[in-house]
Symmetry: C2
Subunit: 316 residues, 2 copies
Amino acid sequence: MYIGIDLGGTNIAGGLVTESGEIIKKMSVPTGRERGSDAVIEDIYRIIEALLEENQAGQSVKGIGIGIPGIADPHTGEVIVCVNLNWYNVPLRAKLSARTNLPIFIDNDATVAGVAEFQVAQKGQYKDAVMLTLGTGVGGGILLDGKAVSGFHGIGSELGHMIIGESLYTCNCGRNGCLETFASSTAIIHYAKHLLETMPDASLMRDTVHDDLTKITGEIIFDAAKAGDVLANQVVDRLVKYLSIGIMNIISTIDPEIVLLGGGISMAGDFLLDKVNIELEKLKYFKASACARVEIATLKNDAGIIGAAMYAMIQH
Amino acid sequence: MYIGIDLGGTNIAGGLVTESGEIIKKMSVPTGRERGSDAVIEDIYRIIEALLEENQAGQSVKGIGIGIPGIADPHTGEVIVCVNLNWYNVPLRAKLSARTNLPIFIDNDATVAGVAEFQVAQKGQYKDAVMLTLGTGVGGGILLDGKAVSGFHGIGSELGHMIIGESLYTCNCGRNGCLETFASSTAIIHYAKHLLETMPDASLMRDTVHDDLTKITGEIIFDAAKAGDVLANQVVDRLVKYLSIGIMNIISTIDPEIVLLGGGISMAGDFLLDKVNIELEKLKYFKASACARVEIATLKNDAGIIGAAMYAMIQH
């Protein structure tokens, strides 16, 4: 049994999770980040305490995993930065360890979501796997030899910030050319607006939002592309081109057995996957060798809680 | 004691190497690749046999490492492709295993050179390290948790083929934008010629080669840049820009403790390193966090033999 904590900008969610990834009990409180880190850590501790009390199954709790919207030092368990929470150098593990003897493992929420997918949805069958979460941004989770990899300083697996070209706008991180500025919903909405504003062509996307371009969403773009809309397909093709470069760069670096695509954009399913596979085949340079399969991630609910618990289990 | 074999396009070199990376005995024969793989493997076996006979120190040989100019399947030990040798799907490990009971470990020569640097020059002090060999091409070696990483299919650590922008010419691999087309000696010679042919400015580089642009070398470019030549500095600055993007992408993926630069271009030493560190500071996006140091690799001789032996030792 493990405890998983999903520390988000809106809520702190926690759960008591079995070794096969089943949630026995879960609970959640608002984060209330404006209260500062000490009050938030107090609430995390209360959730841990309440979950430990709920654990009457006879199996002892072996560890606590915490997914954070930022980065942590893997050696000290200090949160280096969580922009959303306005946390800088917060000694999260040390503060909790003062009140519980259980080992505590902290990592980025995208890594933790990857672990949920690898360990539960994929049943732990892969030891070398990568998950790309294609949402508002692009998050990465890396599993190598059965362990989650976030690097020596805790700043690895930030796959959304791999620079792969020149993009139309500056990334949140202040640089240009990050994978995230090509392959997130933010990126495709940005590019769709750019095309609709600069090209005179008619487009289903424009019709769907009744000319109010602020209403364009990733779903609207994919629906229009699936219906054959020319501009929407230009947007999707650009996403596919750069996403495939990102995937192939990951393959050229750590060459995993599988790459899983999660997040809102992955809802496009086979329509997206088929295009990515065609592009990857073009980009593959060792034609004679096998390389990673790409699949759509399947775990939808509670990945934050489950992944944090599974993270504690595999890193233990 | 381990045996290291450096299988090159010109020579097969082998050595008996201690666990601290000292060569006790070495030997070399011409590869004679035109004879085909069976004859070359026969010669590799003869070198192994001769080295085993030389081992009179009383310490038993525990394994054999082989560095190849291509890629091998880590599960089967089959050489998938060595373009230089014209080898495709050659069962190297199986053929040698039929004649020796020693465990055999095969990997790419850039990975093996990295292992020599990590284990011997750096005395095994790093468990998470990357080496970039900046020569005619760009090779990569990755060490994570003390093991060399070449990936599930053997096609990882090909860091020279990370796509990071649009380059002036097509890479050997058939694609555009590989790190190798920005940060190898081939790349800077190509760009220097391009500038000299298209810009009317005077340049020390042109003077040095007496207007024969086919004679431009990496060394000539760096010497001119160090002497303050404007065009040569443009060439170096472009190399530094893209090399730094490549390094930062590696950091965003696996976040090693250290990145070592080897190969001919690394001979530029601190002149190169200082510029790279300035550029990396600009590219760093978690300003609050520590990140990998970058240093110049120091092992110069016999890295192929030593690295192959050390590879067998650490992967064993």
